[in-house]
């Protein structure tokens, strides 16, 4: 987020995304039977929410735990605002509930990216000898994207991503429709 705005304020304004990301990561750990250590769903610090867990048993588990919350958050954010952003773009109508869902959607998408430490763990897992060449080939660009997202928070890329997730799917649909 923009360095001019304190991260605590950003975290407070976008708390549903912080909470949801940590909750989804906990659920992924539960599903994959990875022991969870400390869990913080929300705090006024950096990062605002985190989950510590043991090292996953294999690369696929590491990828699921590292990338799963990103995909879940992004998908939820895109689905949530779609029926209100599409008419806003096409018919120029807006509503209070549309604004609320847009805020929720941006909040959730903004916190889709893992933090820098989690990205580092992910990178370590992808580069480990246990990782197959195909996994490396497929996962490296994704992990690189996660790095960009994690580091880009400092210059507001998370907000840009949030807005992109909000606007791009309906805009693409309108572009595709004849």
């Amino acid at each position: 987020m923009n360095p001019a705005i304190p991260s605590q304020v950003v975290a407070l304004l976008t708390f549903p995304g912080v909470v949801l990301r940590a909750a989804v990561e906990v659920l992924f750990c539960r599903r994959l039977r990875v022991a969870v250590g400390e869990v913080c769903y929300f705090r006024f610090g950096t990062p605002p929410g985190f989950v510590t867990h043991e090292r996953p048993a294999n690369v696929h588990q590491a990828l699921l735990i590292g990338l799963g919350p990103f995909f879940v958050n992004s998908l939820l954010a895109a689905l949530m605002a779609f029926p209100f952003v599409l008419p806003a773009l096409e018919f120029r109508v807006s509503s209070v509930q549309g604004y609320i869902l847009a805020w929720l959607s941006i909040s959730i998408a903004m916190h889709a990216f893992p933090n820098a430490d989690e990205t580092e763990d992910l990178w370590r897992a992808v580069r480990s000898p246990a990782s197959s060449p195909r996994t490396r080939l497929l996962a490296t660009p994704l992990v690189g994207f996660m790095y960009v997202g994690a580091v880009g928070r400092l210059i507001g890329l998370d907000l840009l991503y949030g807005l992109g997730v909000l606007v791009l799917p309906p805009a693409l649909l309108l572009y595709v429709l004849p």
Binding site: P16, R33, E38, H53, E54, L101, D117, L174
Partner: protein
């Protein structure tokens, strides 16, 4: 039950943790070896199934409700969007009866949309239903329509005035 290990954030993963033949929590010998922490099946289950606090469950439930609410609006939104595209296609093909029907579907979903109302009014006018056109376009006269549509509406009103002999 308390875990015998504690982590601080960021986690400093113990790469060379001593391989323990027994579960670190209950000392049971049936350890799941593929994982880093030596835990038996039951203790691993306990360690991985972290219950969500009530507040967090509430927030997740609210997000889920918001998602359901959005999902409830999907059919209407997509239906209106498709109807609008179909209406424009029908208008281009000069099939104004079809265009009116499609735009009416859009206006039924988004009656507050000046663009949809204007398109409906224009379709009425071009379809020869001048009375309805005047009635409908009167509603969008003062509202913010896109420039191109507003110009078309103005042209219709000029034409109506001209035909009625009003200056």
């Amino acid at each position: 039950m308390a875990v015998a290990w504690q982590w601080t954030y960021p986690p400093k993963t113990p790469a060379g943790a001593d391989p323990a033949p027994v579960c670190k929590n209950c000392k049971c010998p049936n350890v799941e070896e593929e994982y880093e922490l030596p835990l038996c099946w039951d203790c691993r289950r306990w360690a991985s199934v972290r219950p969500l606090p009530r507040d967090i469950k509430l927030i997740c439930a609210l997000v889920f409700i918001a998602l359901l609410y959005a999902g409830y609006h999907y059919p209407g939104t997509l239906g209106a969007s498709i109807a609008y595209q179909e209406g424009q296609r029908a208008e281009k093909a000069r099939n104004f009866t079809r265009a009116i029907a499609e735009y009416e579907t859009v206006v039924a979903t988004y009656p507050q949309s000046p663009l949809a109302v204007a398109r409906l009014g224009l379709a009425y006018y071009r379809g020869g239903q001048v009375q309805q056109a005047i009635w409908i376009l009167g509603h969008v006269w003062w509202r913010g329509t896109p420039k191109e549509t507003a110009m078309q509406v103005n042209a219709v009103f000029r034409d109506i005035k001209k035909r009625a002999g009003v200056k």
